[in-house]
């Protein structure tokens, strides 16, 4: 089955607050899709729906060909998700945490060790993996979350502010891994505030404001549609962040 994401008229309400309002979007395999938007625009909520954390209030969402509500289990087997600012089990060591998630994905110990070992080396975390997560710095926790999301080689990778807390070396490592992942036909949804990274990394960009998709296309298409403007200026022009500024 071809990995892809199909979002149709997605609405998600929290009580009286409508976080996502009728979002429709397609993301094809092999694509790094950047999700941009001001604070509270609905980026994280969209990622939570895609990752099966929460169900849509209405609309339909399919990830890797499976419905996120009716076939949540199938979706979970095919995705990797890095939430923004998540706390981990402080009492577990990094290795124990990775083992837990590897077990949930039914990875054998040897297979899991081989996959996570390479990632831990790449993120320079291998030496710290037997320490309790409670002793980790913010950057180390973020690296552990990235390894956890990547170790089962997911078809769809959902990243919410993945560079948060990472040192320069780890940032470059992650960008390299994302390119490799996309080249292998995987889908990556990348939510961020950092325009430069999104512009350089992503094949296509979607700008969300107040829960609605206000623009999408490749960075060059967006720049061509708004001559003389940088991506940051286009972002400010299209969203409430620009109005408030």
């Amino acid at each position: 089955m071809n990995p892809s994401i199909q979002i149709r008229d997605l609405v998600r309400r929290y009580g009286d607050v409508e976080a996502v309002r009728g979002l429709t979007l397609d993301i094809a395999g092999g694509e790094i899709f950047g999700l941009l938007g001001p604070n509270g625009a609905g980026k994280s909520t969209t990622l939570r729906v895609l990752s099966t954390l929460i169900r849509p209030t209405s609309g339909s969402v399919r990830v890797a060909g499976y419905d996120v509500v009716a076939e949540a289990g199938e979706v979970r087997r095919r995705i990797g998700y890095v939430p923004e600012g998540a706390d981990l089990y402080d009492a577990l060591t990094g290795a124990e945490f990775l083992d837990l998630l590897a077990d949930l994905h039914l990875l054998g110990r040897a297979e899991a060790a081989a996959r996570s070992g390479a990632l831990l080396e790449a993120f320079a975390l291998a030496g710290e993996i037997d320490r309790p997560v409670g002793d980790y710095s913010k950057g180390m926790k973020q690296k552990l979350l990235l390894v956890a999301a990547l170790q089962h080689d997911p078809e769809v990778l959902l990243l919410d502010e993945p560079l948060d807390g990472l040192d320069v070396g780890a940032q470059e490592t992650l960008k390299g891994l994302l390119h490799q992942h996309a080249a292998a036909g995987r889908v990556i949804v990348y939510s961020s505030h950092i325009m430069e990274v999104v512009e350089r990394l992503c094949d296509r960009v979607g700008i969300i404001d107040h829960g609605r998709l206000v623009a999408h296309g490749s960075p060059s298409e967006l720049l061509a549609a708004h001559p003389g403007r940088t991506l940051s200026e286009i972002f400010l022009h299209l969203t409430s962040a620009g109005t408030e500024a």
Partner: protein
């Protein structure tokens, strides 16, 4: 398992375990209960590790990990549960009728379970951050919930076995009956199940409905109820027997108001001490258990497992945000406090009172323990009028002294000392900030005891000449004032700058400083003691000694605080 339209996404179908993998006994049991072993077993393993490694109950607090070596915090908790169990076993053996001791044992045991659930295991049962991490991985809520219940239940059973075994033996020995011991064991088991279920459901319910802050506010109240109940029962036993608390061999009917005592019914029947109220207590015990099981089952059927996993994952509603902002606005500075250092201290104390469970618990203990220490003996010796004024004054001084020591120590610690940085970069002199508590304690604790208890002493101690009475009240006031300053010197760290379970190894100079502090404190205590030895105007000489020591403490304390704040900057 499905969930409501606002809830998270539902369960995955159970998956096949990879070929070659064998199901453990726990995995087979989980499958029988409708869970997916491929989810249940990994979570059971992870939660088991978490439970073994963390124990925040007061049972193990303050013990350095280096002292316990390879022993896990859970094993230390089991050790202390056994020690407490030995204590209540002694109470059962030494109390007549022994049912009173049994009532105490069941009450303490039930609170032990409640504390274990709420203080240690609630974050395993319901962690607001967990869902964001695990939800995107293959799982189903029922398997995860069952793993939580299994691990926490196993830990509670182990703790309860450690706690109840000595008292079960004591009951068997006291009644010369294996049947009695078995009946008590049955009651204790049922009490453990009921207390566990009640604590789990109440804790999870509060967390899911009102959030973590509500729970933090609720826990110290439970602790307060326990402390008051425990001290009332253990220190007021003389009063209880004198007032006909227990007549003959049975328990009185009115004690049925205490739910923990309902579970003594099997023992009452087994030992032939049943009264008409025993049947009512047994019925209430069974009904409460059934009720709790039914509530739990209903929550489970209604997709509560998923709701539990997902709580806290959505944004706060605008109404709640408005309410929170309003609360913050109301809590702005008091017009009565002008010193910025004192204001800063009160602000930090307020923040910790709202968010730091360890601080709240310590403050509850710091308030209640001295109060109970003072009230219980004061009430029980009320009949011996001659000694009462003297001893009451000293008891009040001891209780306030205990509160001073306890509050100063509690205010130094914070579970999040790194959050002190706004204060460290604020234009507030650190010495004044550290000394702020001294002023607060000096003016809030010392005058009431001097005015109320001292005034009462002056009026009632007719056997002592009036000038001697004044000397003693003055001596107590000076001693308490000295103690406030001395304790600051003994615990000189900036308030809320020390992690509660830090490694407590001390350098030789710290040991020396402590010895100097104790010597000064001992000198003051000796001065207080002299006042009761020296009769006539000589008592005022003792007051002079106390004053001398009082002024000796001041520079020593300031020197210690200055060094501590300088050391903080060096870090």
């Amino acid at each position: 398992m499905s969930s409501g339209p606002e809830g998270p996404v539902g369960a995955a179908a159970p998956r096949a375990i990879p070929a070659g993998s064998r199901l453990t006994l726990a995995g087979r049991m989980a499958r029988l209960l409708g869970a997916d072993p491929a989810v249940f077993v990994p979570f059971m393993r992870a939660y088991g590790t978490i439970v073994r490694r963390r124990s925040r109950m007061r049972l193990t607090r303050g013990i350095s990990p280096k002292m316990t070596g390879r022993i896990s915090p859970f094993q230390v908790a089991c050790f202390f549960a056994t020690l407490i169990g030995l204590g209540v076993a002694a109470a059962i053996a030494g109390t007549h009728p022994s049912l009173v001791g049994v009532a105490l044992a069941l009450t303490v045991g039930s609170f032990l379970v409640v504390f274990a659930v709420l203080f240690d295991y609630l974050e395993v049962l319901a962690s607001p951050d967990e869902y964001r991490v695990v939800a995107a991985h293959p799982h189903d809520a029922w398997s995860v919930l069952l793993a939580k219940i299994f691990v926490v239940g196993r830990a509670l059973v182990t703790l309860s076995v450690c706690y109840y075994t000595p008292s079960i033996l004591a009951v068997g020995i006291v009644h010369h009956s294996i049947v009695a011991a078995g009946a008590y064991a049955l009651g204790a088991s049922l009490a453990t199940v009921a207390a566990s279920l009640a604590a789990m459901l109440a804790g999870i319910g509060i967390l899911a409905r009102w959030g973590r802050v509500a729970l933090l506010r609720f826990l110290p109240a439970i602790q307060a109820v326990f402390l008051v109940g425990y001290f009332s029962m253990s220190m007021g036993r003389r009063w209880m027997f004198a007032s006909g608390f227990a007549t003959g061999h049975g328990l009185p009917g009115w004690i049925t108001i205490a739910p923990t005592v309902w579970f003594a019914a099997p023992l009452e029947w087994a030992t032939g001490t049943a009264v008409p109220a025993t049947a009512l207590r047994a019925a209430l015990a069974v009904a409460s258990l059934l009720g709790l099981v039914m509530i739990g089952a209903r929550w489970g059927r209604s997709g509560f497992g998923e709701t539990l996993l997902a709580f806290g994952s959505g944004p706060r509603s605008p109404a709640a945000r408005r309410q929170r902002v309003g609360t913050r606005r109301r809590e702005t500075r008091s017009p009565w406090v002008r010193d910025p250092a004192v204001r800063a201290f009160l602000a930090m104390a307020r923040i910790h009172a709202r968010t730091d469970l360890a601080f709240r618990s310590q403050m509850v203990v710091s308030t209640l323990m001295p109060a109970m220490m003072f009230l219980s003996p004061a009430i029980s010796m009320g009949s011996r009028r001659e000694a009462a004024p003297e001893i009451t004054l000293l008891l009040a001084a001891a209780a306030i002294g205990m509160a001073i020591v306890s509050i100063t120590t509690a205010s130094s610690a914070s579970t999040k000392p790194e959050a002190l940085w706004p204060l460290l970069i604020a234009p507030i002199e650190r010495l004044r900030y550290t000394m702020a508590l001294r002023g607060i304690l000096r003016w809030s604790l010392v005058p009431p005891v001097v005015i109320l208890v001292g005034g009462w002493y002056l009026a009632t101690a007719a056997a002592v000449p009036i000038h001697e009475r004044f000397a003693r009240v003055a001596g107590v006031a000076i001693y308490l004032d000295m103690l406030v300053t001395l304790q600051r010197g003994l615990v000189p760290e900036m308030p809320f700058s020390v992690r509660p379970n830090r490694d407590r190894r001390m350098q030789w100079n710290q040991v020396l400083a402590m010895l100097v502090g104790f010597a000064i404190g001992g000198g003051g205590g000796f001065g207080l003691f002299l006042m009761w030895l020296i009769r006539g105007w000589g008592a005022w000489a003792a007051v002079a000694i106390l004053l001398f020591w009082r002024f000796l403490v001041e520079p020593w304390t300031r020197w210690r605080v200055r060094r501590a704040t300088a050391a903080l900057e060096a870090v």
